[in-house]
């Protein structure tokens, strides 16, 4: 199947007086991998459930390849693979029989089903456990089966609500690897609280807070736009004195020394590029490393969400 673009168009959802989503407008191009970030209660699951045709918007709409999730849910369902935040299977079914069931429901031809089920089990590492009842699965195995059932029919859009929360580090990097592997072939929307994972797997990031979209951009641009650059410096000897020397400067947000290493978050990158080397030279310490970096996604996230919380 060809990757499908997704468009949220002035999407709003209220539960009584609580506005879970406010005027969310966001386009995910076909084949992009978008990480949806936001603190607890930001509205991520609400948006995802509407996209997955399970919730109804109060106003606005979301379309997949031009089909509206609320007006033409069947068309969207045919394109969709969905991993909900809380996943459950009929206890009595085995992983293998569940995948067979899921493939049949999504219209995979009977003659292709067996092979498709086996390759999907293999993909998520459940071949061995395939005949065990899902009741006996660990949390991580359940999450793997959840990802498998979303992929078994080769969807055009894969929507994952915190897909790696229950996985061990190996499982997590396997899933991220898998997502990177299908990049371009499938459009992916995934929500997660694990920002490093999003940083590694997603080429786009959208940050939601209190139902509002705070930022949406490519993973690199969002860091450039919303977080000042970070300078990493390493000197021979202790960097503490150097940190102290520059801490009061107007272009410094904060400076943190750890042994010989110094991390400087700056407010004014242009001045920092001029002043920091001078400060290092003035300290008389031998310079081992000097690098200008983008901030981590976590820094961007914290900065955006806390400033929006202050504004509210």
């Amino acid at each position: 199947m060809i990757a499908a673009p997704v468009e949220f168009f002035h999407l709003a959802k209220s539960y009584g007086r609580l506005q879970a989503l406010r005027d969310l407008t966001l386009t995910i191009p076909a084949g992009a991998v978008l990480g949806l970030l936001g603190p607890n209660g930001a509205g991520k699951t609400t948006a995802i459930r509407i996209l997955a045709t399970l919730g109804r918007p109060s106003s606005g709409q979301v379309t997949v390849a031009g089909k509206s999730a609320s007006a033409d849910p069947d068309a969207v369902r045919r394109l969709l693979g969905y991993v909900p935040q809380e996943i459950a299977f009929p206890n009595w079914m085995s992983g293998r029989s569940y995948l067979r069931f899921a493939a049949a429901l999504s219209g995979v031809e009977a003659k292709d089903r067996g092979a498709r089920v086996e390759s999907t089990l293999e993909l998520v590492g459940l071949t061995e456990a395939g005949d065990r009842r899902t009741q006996t699965y660990s949390g991580g195995m359940r999450q793997r089966l959840g990802i498998a059932q979303a992929l078994v029919h080769e969807p055009a859009l894969l929507v994952l609500d915190e897909p790696v929360a229950a996985l061990d580090p190996i499982g997590r990097s396997e899933v991220l690897e898998l997502i990177r592997g299908i990049q371009g072939k499938v459009t992916v929307l995934l929500s997660s609280h694990l920002l490093d994972d999003v940083d590694r797997a997603c080429d786009q990031v959208a940050i939601l807070s209190q139902g509002k979209l705070l930022a949406h951009d490519s993973t690199t641009s969002i860091k450039e736009r919303y977080g000042g650059p970070v300078f990493h410096v390493e000197v021979r000897g202790g960097a503490a004195s150097l940190a102290q020397r520059i801490s009061g400067e107007a272009w410094v947000e904060h400076a943190l020394a750890d042994g010989g290493r110094l991390t400087v978050v700056v407010k004014d990158p242009a001045r920092a590029e001029l002043e920091l080397p001078l400060a290092i030279a003035a300290s008389g310490l031998p310079l081992l490393l000097y690098r200008r970096d983008l901030p981590s996604l976590e820094e961007v996230f914290l900065r955006l969400v806390s400033s929006s919380a202050q504004a509210a």
């Binding site: 997955a52 969905y82 996943i87 429901l105």
Partner: protein, 258 residues
């Protein structure tokens, strides 16, 4: 997309679930015990009354007949099995929705109608098999202990029971689709079942259009003084009621899939 897409796959899952979770066995046991129990109890009733009566008091207990046994059979199959069916099907939709199983199914290209109908088919088959087994066994016992009951009326009585119990399943599934928990659904379904059993007694036109029009006339039926085409309307009416409940359940699932 047809309005019943996914029905075959969903019905297959529900049927396997019926077998794996032992629903068939429970239903078959309850149906058999109720039917056979009624027949056997009817046979021994005069003896029981005599031994309980003690000395001196003479109770005139008329000899029980095949008709009495069939009437008792019909009455008992309309009670415990109906309660068992409510218990077995009340979680059908509500629990799947609460656990998240429904979300994975209904986010696929399947219709809400197929989802509901698949459950009805599975529970309906449980009813059909349980009732058939109970009907056959009870027929044999009636023949053994009394004399063979007339086949036509006996069949009609069982048809009435079948429609009545299918209505119970449909009402329970509707409650399960409309409410948040299986227990709440069971409570509402119980009220629905009691209403279905009792209300038609107050208004003849209603009684003539619901399965109680047949199951409430077992004495006349068994005695041969009623039956034939008069039974068509109550049976069809009962099936229409089931259909309406299923349609409403599908609407409820469509509005709130998970």
């Amino acid at each position: 997309m047809s309005s019943m897409s996914g029905l075959r796959t969903l019905a297959g899952k529900e049927l396997r679930e019926s077998v794996v979770t032992g629903r068939w066995l429970i239903a078959a046991a309850v149906f058999m015990l109720s039917g056979l129990g009624a027949v056997v109890l009817t046979y021994y009733l005069p003896d029981l009354v005599r031994t309980q009566a003690g000395s001196g008091i003479a109770i005139a207990m008329p000899r029980q007949t095949a008709t009495d046994a069939v009437v008792a059979y019909a009455k008992d199959l309309d009670q415990l099995p109906a309660l068992a069916l409510i218990l077995l099907s009340m979680g059908g939709i509500a629990e799947e929705r609460a656990r998240g199983v429904a979300a994975l199914i209904l986010s696929r290209p399947v219709s809400a109608g197929a989802y509901v109908l698949a459950k009805f088919i599975a529970h309906g088959l449980v009813v059909l098999v349980g009732l058939s087994a109970a009907a056959l066994a009870s027929f044999g016992y009636v023949a053994l202990l009394f004399h063979p009951a007339p086949v036509g009326p006996y069949l009609l009585i069982n048809l009435g029971l079948l429609v009545m119990l299918l209505d119970v399943v449909a009402i329970t599934l509707l409650a399960s689709a409309a409410l948040g928990s299986g227990v709440a659904a069971g409570g509402v379904a119980l009220v629905g079942y009691l209403a279905l059993s009792a209300l038609p007694g107050f208004w003849a036109p209603l009684n003539n259009s619901l399965p109680t029009g047949v199951t409430g006339r077992t004495s006349e039926l068994a005695a041969g003084s009623w039956g034939g085409s008069a039974a068509v309307q109550p049976l069809v009416g009962g099936l229409v009621l089931a259909l309406v409940c299923l349609l409403l359940a599908a609407v409820a699932v469509r509005l709130r899939p998970a």
